[in-house]
């Protein structure tokens, strides 16, 4: 297991012909995420900046400390943990207390990544592990949303941000509801243009569908992301929710709303495409995307929670080794399907 004893390096697929290394790809993902981060700070103000910074720093620090503790050189240089940190920060509610952000960051890297063996061994997306832990530990704080575009968002911090460690956060009376919560509990639909632009309440970085898509297109254009996964997710969500919308437009939200609300964009483009936790074959990726899309629709329409992208992706992460097992590519040079 130890990196020191490696005599032969074997890389698993996907083999990328461009000669891009882990560092280059990861750095480009960070670049693709920067506009999303900047926009989230614009929408939610100072508290989003603090949440993002705390999330990223806690992940970086955890990785560094654990690497040194194991006796290896620190793997901060490959940028992968920076992505985990930023993505993790983007999935959190903007006004989450800093101590919870740090705790979740430690869990994300320590449990989600390091206990599995570090980069390339994580069975689940580490950022989502951190968020899932917080969701289970502090359900109230994780579903108290800060309103978007508040008038004093750059001048005044919400009182919850700097809560003392282990203390319950105090929230302002003003708190926004996410479009998904609004439709689930009140039955109102937010305009699709607002959703697309990201001018709604929600997790720090999940609101702006346009910028996330732009970042994803950049990565796909540079062949640094498997386009099949997000496309399969979008297609499945669109088709499934479209069918239900046609059956009963009064009871079910329209497909466009489903596509652009909640964390679907962020999850489909940046989380589901985690190279380690997704299947290796192209057809496997399509199956994986269809599974995520179907689960998202099922959880959103019939589940008790307004949002299900996180659990859908984690579940699909768990299934992806089995997808790989089912779909064995033909061994090069043979005619039949490779015997197992």
């Amino acid at each position: 297991m130890s990196a020191k004893n490696k005599t032969l390096e074997i890389d698993t697929s996907p083999h990328i012909v461009s000669g891009a290394s882990v560092e280059v790809i990861m750095r480009n993902v960070v670049f693709a995420l920067v506009p999303v981060c900047i926009f989230s700070v614009y929408v939610f103000g100072l508290t989003a900046l603090i949440t993002l910074t705390a999330a990223t720093l806690s992940c970086l620090l955890t990785e560094h400390v654990l690497c040194r503790w194991r006796g290896d050189r620190s793997t901060l240089g490959d940028w992968s943990v920076a992505i985990t940190g930023i993505l993790y920060g983007l999935t959190l509610p903007p006004a989450l207390p800093v101590w919870m952000v740090v705790l979740g960051g430690v869990v994300a890297v320590g449990v989600g990544k390091f206990l599995f063996g570090g980069l390339g061994h994580n069975a689940f997306n580490p950022a989502l592990i951190g968020r899932a832990f917080l969701q289970a530990a502090f359900p109230v704080s994780m579903t108290t949303w800060y309103p978007a575009l508040g008038a004093e968002r750059f001048a005044v911090l919400p009182p919850s941000t700097f809560t003392l460690p282990f203390a319950s956060p105090v929230y302002d009376s003003i708190s926004g509801a996410t479009p998904l919560a609004v439709i689930k509990f009140d039955g109102d639909i937010t305009a699709a243009t607002d959703l697309l632009m990201g001018l709604t309440s929600g997790s720090t970085g999940e609101t702006s569908g346009l910028l996330i898509l732009a970042g994803g297109l950049y990565l796909i254009a540079r062949k640094m992301m498997n386009w099949r996964i997000p496309v399969a997710i979008f297609a499945t969500v669109f088709a499934l929710s479209g069918v239900f919308y046609l059956i009963d437009p009064a009871a079910y939200p329209g497909p466009l709303f489903m596509l652009f609300s909640g964390g679907l964009m962020l999850g489909a483009v940046f989380m589901a495409t985690d190279m380690v936790a997704s299947p290796m074959t192209s057809f496997g990726c399509v199956l994986y995307g269809v599974l995520i899309g179907a689960l998202v629709v099922v959880i959103r329409l019939w589940g008790g929670l307004p949002e299900g992208v996180m659990y859908a992706i984690l579940f699909a992460n768990a299934v992806s080794p089995h997808i790989d097992n089912l779909i064995q590519p033909r061994v090069y040079g043979t005619t039949e399907r490779g015997a197992s």
């Binding site: 832990f133 289970a136 530990a137 502090f138 809560t163 282990f166 203390a167 319950s168």
Partner: protein, 216 residues
């Protein structure tokens, strides 16, 4: 007589091994069902540990006493019968002492019957050793089991409730970690303790330069 021999006669080692070297939860990883299910508070953990320890003590004693009379073919059924007798006693005793405790432990009191740890001690130890050693073994294993449950229950109650044995530890305004009360918290806590203890064991082995014998 050397001290080693005297120890063997008295059976100190049979007592000590269950607490640390062959701890039923942290080393043998046996009887996980109650360990994960009722370790959500320190009180529940203590009650469960003591109940299991009592049943183990009585069943070990009786099995060891009767070891020459129990036919080999029906020994498992006999052990279960003996264990079930004492579980029934414990069940009624807890119900009489505290109805609340009985409610919060629920079906897990009756499920002590199928705790593989107790059957394991009866089959692997009590049926082959003298009564005195069987009693010491049961005491050691019972205390080890109770301590391990307390380790889990203490951490889970502290983080999930901000209290220990029902007494608030943190000042007002503590934000409970709901996940620690939930079943997944049991897995997290057990994994963390196993990690810690295995780490300590490995460091000890690295220091002394020898691998410890694998417990039977």
């Amino acid at each position: 007589m050397t001290s080693r021999n005297r120890k063997a006669v008295i059976g100190t080692d049979e007592f000590i091994k269950g607490i640390w070297r062959e701890n039923p939860v942290f080393v043998q990883v046996l009887g996980m069902c109650p360990v994960l299910a009722v370790s959500n508070t320190a009180i529940n953990a203590l009650a469960m540990g003591l109940a299991t320890a009592f049943v183990m003590l009585m069943s070990n004693t009786l099995v060891s006493t009767l070891r020459n009379f129990i036919p080999k073919q029906v020994r498992i059924a006999t052990y279960i019968l003996i264990i079930a007798t004492f579980v029934t006693i414990v069940d009624y005793a807890i119900e009489a002492i505290s109805l609340d405790l009985h409610k919060s432990l629920g079906a897990f009191i009756s499920l002590i019957v199928v705790n593989c740890l107790i059957l394991g001690r009866a089959e692997a130890f009590a049926s082959k050793h003298r009564v005195r050693h069987a009693v010491l073994d049961a005491l050691g294993m019972g205390i080890g089991f109770t301590l391990a449950l307390l380790c889990l229950g203490g951490v889970r109650e502290l983080l999930g409730d901000g209290a220990l044995f029902g007494v608030a530890v943190f000042p007002d305004g503590f934000e409970p970690w709901i996940v620690m009360i939930l079943p997944s918290g049991g897995f997290f806590t057990l994994a963390a303790w196993l990690l810690l203890i295995n780490h300590m064991q490995q460091r000890k082995e690295a220091k002394t330069g020898r691998v410890q014998e694998v417990p039977r």
